[in-house]
Structure formats: structure tokens, C-alpha cells
Amino acid sequence: MSSIAMPEPNADILARAPHIVAALEAALPAGAVISSPEETRAYECDALTAYRCPPLAVVLPRTTEEVAVAMRICHVWSVPVVPRGAGTSLAGGALPTADSVVIGTMRLRDTLEIDTANRFIRVQTGVTNLSVSAELEAEGFFYAPDPSSQLACTIAGNIAMNSGGAHCLKYGVTTNNLLGVRMVMATGDIIEIGGPLLGTPGLDLLGLICGSEGQLAIVTEATLRIVPKPEGARPMLIGFDSAETAGECVARIIRSGLLPVAIEYMDDVCLRAVEAFVKAGYPNCAAVLIVEVEGSEAEIDHQIERIRSIAEELDPVEFRSSRTAEESLAIWKGRKSAFGAMGRLGDYLCLDGTVPVSRLPHTLKRIGELSKEYGLEVANVFHAGDGNMHPLILFNANAPGELERAEAFGADILRLCVDVGGCLTGEHGVGIEKRDLMTKQYTAEDMAIQMEIKDVFDPGWLLNPAKVFPLELSQAHRDAAARCP
């Protein structure tokens, strides 16, 4: 097993487990509560599979009111609650403990309102990210944040992790597209913040909820901003024989006044894996950029020409722009299958740090050096336009000690991100994975005020209590919460 500790389960709660389950079952419809070990096993981890622990029970409500009923019971019995969407978090955000109840919101799947005149959609948060855009397809609109996991992940998880994807360079991440939420507080009370208006004059509570990793409330409904679909979009592929030059090209494109919708980066390790897997026809070189631009045909041509002249000053190995839908698919194909392709090479740890775009070349170089020091290969595939890096550290999970080595390497990379002015996580969140690195980015006081905010929303520290904040720092808050129920 690996190095991240979780608190000892509370013996009192374990002893009272049958009563807690009975109370949940009595208050909720048949089939909403799962407690047999065979069934709870499916909820023992999220996409960070190195850590597993089945919860005491899983509740799968269908309405906000049912979430509130379940939450209230957990509140009365002081049982920790782990909110869960689709469980695709890569930071262990939805990892349960033996004394906790998982409240999964994936059955809250209704579309409540589509209003194109006022440009919003209101949904229950268990809908998947992709299905929101599918609902809007016929209206000529879409929902912009597009995490790579969008087929599976839910709006609930997106809000909790402030998720974003390849297109956030132009359209922003979840927090820039979220207008309002309905949510269940740790007491079981239901409240609404925001709505279809473009802001609220009071304190920006919505901004605080978004990205709060299930620490403050359980989000059950969301009002999302929707955007008209562009007339067209086309990618281009630019190959370079050095990582530095590719990084330089990114900075020059951004500086030129153009605003591509996506700038994606893949290094040679990743390119080789992708070629072996899907034969995308990518050039054999040190780094490839995929740049996508939007607009009418003429606007697209204009932008492609400008990017071509920027790239050509840097002597690219290849510059290929798409002319047809098939060519566009071919350019994106390798990028979209990159994670799958890497998976075929063995186990990997997917990191998620951000750095200022200007420090990309330096950071890539230093990661290469660390890779040699640790003797572990690393592949880089990431959203270059906004400096959100995803180094994938390859290791062999069956070789004793390799996971720990990979984790130590990963921690060094994240520290490097902070040292060059970036941060520990751009989109995957802190969860349990980066909890103990928080002290690298924040002082004790920076974190104290964040934990005091948790005290305000969740005085009993029931929601995801052992996540995000280093355990020794949150200990006093958790102890105080335990003393005054």
C-alpha cells in the first residue's frame, strides 16, 4: 500500500452501523440504500484506484429532498458523508472511509429547464457533462466546460472540482459557466444560491462552492450558462524538434492577439505510445501542438494563416492544417486516445499541476531531469494554452516500492510547479492525493481561514472530513466538531 494516511474509523459509528442503515432505509424509498459488502464494494474508490475502502453504506437518492433526508440522518448520528458523482476523480475526492456514508447524486438526472432566450439550462447534478450539451444540440447551443472524462463525469463532480477541458482557453472552466446551485447543507437544510441572473450583489458564495471538493454542501441542481455553437472549428498540428521551441510557439500564439479555443501539447513519449495504439499518423518528433480555431470558414482560414506564419518562424518539423472533417478527426484522434494509449504501456500516475505559460519550457526540462533521477519514464500531454500540465509517470504497480517512488516523483513535480509560480492542481483537485502538499503552496494562516470557512458551512466536519486539508492541520477543527454535535 501507499503512503497516504486516512484517519482511523470512528469505533462508535461502526458499532452503531446497523442502526444508521436502518434509519436510512426507513426514511428512503426501497433500493435507495445499499449496505451489503458485495454492493458497497463498487464504491470503495474512485479513479485513484491505489486507495480503497468500502463505506458503511451508500445512499442513491433521486431527488434533492431525498438527499436532504439522508444528510439529516447522517447529521443526527454524526456520520461522515462522502458525496459522489460518477467517481472519476483522480485525486481520491470520492474515496470513502469505513465509518462514512456515500451519498451519490448520479440518479438525479432530470433536465429541469432549457431557456435559450436567457441562455441557461437548469439540471439536476447527476447528469453527465456530455449529456448537457446533447440536450442543447438542437437549439444550436452547448455547455462549454469539456473535461476529457465528459462521457462519464457528472455536473456535480464538475462543480466540486471546477473541471475544465481542452476548450477552456476560450470558454473558461466550470466556475465561469456556473450561474446558480441548489444544495443540501450538512444539517440537511436545502438552500439556493445564484440563479439565471448575471451575478449577485452580495458575497459570491457560488464562487466559493465551485471547486470546494464536496467540503461545504451537496450540490443537487445547477443553473449553467450556455453558449451558441460556433459556425465551425478546425485544428492544426504543429511538430517541433524540441520541447522548448514548442513552448515558445505557445507563448507567441497567445501573444499575437489570436485566441485559439484549444492548444494541446504532446511529447515524444506520448506520441510513440499513441502511434503504436491508434496510428494517428503524427510526426516523429520531440513535441506536437494541436491548435484549434473557431469561426466562419474565412475567419478560420485567416487565423490558420496567422498561426502558420508564427510557427514557421520557429522552423517546425511539420505544419498540417485540416481541410475536412475527416482530417480534423485524424488530428484529434491521437490526443483523444492519449490516456488510453498510455494505459497500454503499463500503470501510470496522472498528475495535474499548473505553471505560468512562460515557465513551460523550464518546467518540462526539469521534469526530464527528475525522470532520470527517479529512473521512471514520464509522458507529457496537456492543455498548453493555460499551463495546465498532466505529466504521466509510468511505473509497474506489481514491482514493490515503485508506486511509492512514482508518488515521490509526482510530489517533486508538483512542488516544482509551485516553485515556478504555478499551483498544485488545475482541475483534478486536492482530494487525498495532494492533501499533504498543501503546505507547499499555502501558509498555515492561508489554510486556517479556509478551514474556518468549512466550520461555517459544515460545523460538524461531516462532509469529506479527511480531504483537502493536511490531517494534522485539520485535527483541531475535527476534534472541536466532534465535541459539539
Binding site: 432566450a117 441562455r119 444550436g140 447551443f141 472540482m161 477552456c168 472552466v173 466556475t175 465561469n176 437544510d189 438552500i191 444560491i193 441572473l197 448575471l198 451575478g199 449577485t200 450583489p201 452580495g202 458575497l203 459570491d204 458564495l205 457560488l206 464562487g207 465551485c210 471538493e213 451558441p228 459556425e231 507563448a251 507567441r252 497567445i254 501573444r255 492577439g257 489570436l258 485566441l259 469561426g295 466562419s296 474565412a298 475567419e299 499548473t354 505560468p356 512562460s358 492543455h383 493555460d386 499551463g387 495546465n388 504555478g422 499551483c423 492542481t425 488545475g426 486536492v430 503552496q441 499555502y442 494562516e445 492561508d446 481561514i449 474556518e452 468549512k454 461555517v456 458551512f457 483537502v468
Partner: protein, 387 residues
Amino acid sequence: MPMRSNDSETDLAATVISPTNEAELAGFIAESYARTAPMCVVGGGTRLQPGTVAAAQTLTSRSLSGIVTYEPGALTLIARSGTPMEEIEAALASEQQAFAFEPMDHRVVLRVTGAPTVGGMVAGNVSGPRRVNAGACRDHLLGVRFVDGRGRIIKNGGRVMKNVTGLDLSKLLCGSHGTLGVLTEVALKTLPAAETQQTIAFHGISVGDATEIFARALATPYEVSGAAFRSGTAWLRIEGFSAQVDYRRERLSTLFRDRELEIVGEADSRNLWRGLRDLHHFSASSEPLWRILVKPSDAPAVVAALHALGGEVSLDWGGGLIWFQGSASGSAVRRAAGMGQAMLLRRGALCDCGSFPPEEPAIAQLSAALRRTFDPAGILNPGLMDK
């Protein structure tokens, strides 16, 4: 020690404290916390009207000034909170960049002088016409440093666009109007300034027509970056590189070919939107001025209710923002706003009503608890947001 003086520009009665660095500021607030001595927090003081906050001391961030870093290639600017907006706008302009959210300048409409600061802009979440498609100030705020009501120096966020490291206090501080902490440094995202712009004007139309035009235009892919209305004219702004602007203007003109329209060229368009942004049309009066957020499709009904109270309106944000100038009572304006949120910006003779709209009890409770967390002694702009 911080400089103390009587500064007639800001407030006649108050002692003005103007710390020159973060440590000095923290020391002053810690000391005020110990004494439970409230303060009025200002940047350039172009906004807070005297008497809004009952405090014998005024704290200004204006001496915490200067751009810390500006990286045009990374689209990031970090500045100390007291930096004048003029200095920042000049730096951005020299690189053909700007803040996409187009912050307004309130001096004309408020008839005040002084230098608006970047900290005041962030504390007010000030966002102009382009908010309709580019987002608000809070959407472009990457990180903050501030001193809370106990004198603790705190940082949050950073200088990168994507960040989920812990709770997002930057958003919370943005729009908190100095009630949670005093900002010392802000990091903002910049964007390339549009090469050119044009505007399509529709004359002689009603508010209902205008909101319909806005809804149709904003549902197109032509990235309309301004949608405003006043005195029977609606305007749609298109920005980008020249060929793009010509193309989009053509498409929009075709879409609205059943209506009479006029094209406003680049120079006039720029002037027009500056005037709309800064509310030059409401600068001749000193009557109360309200900023009302509504669902755009509710705008016609709300405008009708406001007209019944007397006074004048203009619309921005595609109908999502109604400006109302008139002497009706606060409660009458808030009733007319219906589901909308009305905020009082120019007080005029109104003395009995708070600037901020009342909140739902559950929200008010959370907000109050947060203010207590950041400012346990209630010394930062007391009464401003919690009336």
C-alpha cells in the same frame, strides 16, 4: 507607522491611514482589531460616499501601489491594490491588451474626482458591457493577497487560469466591497484588445423589441460583445480583426433585415460604448441611481414597473442589467424589480435604504457568518453590506 492625516478629499472628519506596505497594513488592522476601531476601507475613494460607513478612521490602499509583474505572453498582470487604473490601462494598452470585462469608470456619473484603483475594481467586481459574453471581473481574477479583519496576511489563488487548490477565496473577496479583508495585491487575466469594432444601431424601438433583438443576436455564433439600449435605440457591438467584424456585421444585418438599422463605424463605436459603460447619460442628474440585475426576458416588465415610478432607464448586458435613475423610494424600486436584484449606487437624497438588496434568510445567515469569520470584531466597512 502608517501615515495619518486629515484628508478633505475623502472624508472630512476621519483620520486617513495610508500604509505603504503589507506588513504595515497588517499591523494597523491588528491594532484596530484589538481596539475594536472600525474603519472605512477605500482605494481611490471614487465610490464610497461619505457617511455610508460609520467610522472615525479611513484606511486607504492608495500607497500600496505599482505593477508587480506583467507578462503579456502569459496574459497575466499582478498589481498592488492601490495602483491607479490609469497606470494599469496604459500598461495593457502598450501591449495591445485589455481587461476583457471592461471595467467602468464611475467618476463622471458620480461627479467625483480621484484615481480609481485596481483594488477598488476587484473589491467591487466592476464589470462593463462586455460582461455579456466575456464574464465579470471575478471570472478574470486569478489570485489575491489580503489582510483580514484580525490582521492576518492571507493569499489565495495564484497567477494561473486554472486552480482548484483549496477553497476559492479570490472569488469571495471579489465583490466583497472591503468587508472581508483589505486587498493588497491582485492577479488578473488580460486578453488581446480587439483590433477593431463596429456597432449596429436600431432606432425608434421599444424595450420589448430591444430584448427580443438581444436574445436573437446573442444566440448567434457572431460573438456580440455589447448589447445595450436607451432612449429608443438598441446597439449591438461586434469586435475582432477587421475581416471578421465585416463578416459578422453582414450576417447580423441579414438576420435583422426586416428592421431598419444603422452601422456605426469604429471611432464612433468606441465613443458610444465608453459613454454607455460609464453612464454618461445619467451624469447630469444627482437623483438616486440603481443597478438592477434581471433575467433578460423579464426586462420589459420590470422597465414598465420602473417607468410607473417616474425616472429613466437604460439597459445593458442584453437586457440583464437595468440602470434606473429616479427619486422613488428604495422599497418601491425593489418591488418594481420583482425577482431582480437592485443595488443603490448613487444615493442622492435617499437616506433610509441600504445599498445592497436584502438577502434570503439562509443566505444572509451564511454571509454574516463568513463576515464574522474574516472580521470577528466587525471593523471593516461596518454596515455596508449587512444593513
